[in-house]
Symmetry: C2
Subunit: 131 residues, 2 copies
DNA sequence: CAGAATCCCATCCGATACTG
DNA sequence: CAGTATCGGATGGGATTCTG
């Protein structure tokens, strides 16, 4: 009962190139709001509440989560200005800015190829309604 | 949610540029295995079971889900060759291949910037153990 | 081989309330 | 303003089993 094709002659066994780094990157960037968040930070430092209004639908709690994740990854830098009330700014690190080409490429692709279908529009509209 | 600042005077109201297309793109590509899956398809058509072995850890069910999603999005084309047993191949469409620059850019970034930390290695190892 | 169906627990995340 | 704490419903996805 020939379990699986014999590893396919053409495939070198080393081919399991899951590429851990790329995988890790997708793990991070793939999470729900992260792409939009980084996009919002591309133009410069932003404060917490600016981010909540820039990225519509993103809640405090999740924003907080995402920012911490990105901080841990060294993609975002958090700076506290000890005024009263405190002012906190988030900005991309060098590593974060280095993502620009990738984000841009994704943008170009989206512009060219992604069509918002009527259903998708309806879905979106419905989601907006829910507020 | 702590009443937002007065929309911040410096921000034009049109600034809510969530960019629906980009958002939609991230929605799709961001899902758990999708990035790796597309990556695996970049080199040419693949059969179902080839994909399960190429992308390690990806289960039948999820692969099935992802392929259908990508098919609906017009990123992947499914072809059935009515032999016995049937042979099914998946390949990227033009739209799918158009993602190459973005994926490549992401790859470059990952190579340059992503370092697998000891913790991450430990985590990965642990995850592999669990099988 | 190429999946569909079912089960079911872990994680995610939205809403709400509270703090410095 | 800039968050944290907590809860509960929704979703994700792994394991297993079954089918053509």
């Amino acid at each position: 009962m020939a379990t699986k094709p014999p590893a396919s002659p053409t495939l070198p066994s080393s081919l399991i190139e899951t590429c851990p780094r790329y995988e890790h990157a997708m793990q991070i960037l793939g999470k729900r709001w992260t792409g939009l968040l980084i996009n919002a930070l591309m133009k410069g430092p932003r404060r917490f509440c600016e981010l909540t209004s820039l990225v519509e639908g993103l809640s405090d709690r999740v924003l907080s989560d995402r920012l911490r994740e990105l901080e841990v990854e060294g993609i975002v830098q958090r700076t506290v200005y000890p005024q009263i009330p405190v002012r906190v700014e988030y900005e991309l690190t060098t590593k974060g800015h280095a993502l620009k080409p990738a984000i841009d490429a994704l943008h170009v692709w989206a512009e060219q190829w992604v069509t918002i279908t009527p259903q998708a529009k309806a879905t979106q509209a419905a989601q907006l309604q829910e507020h």
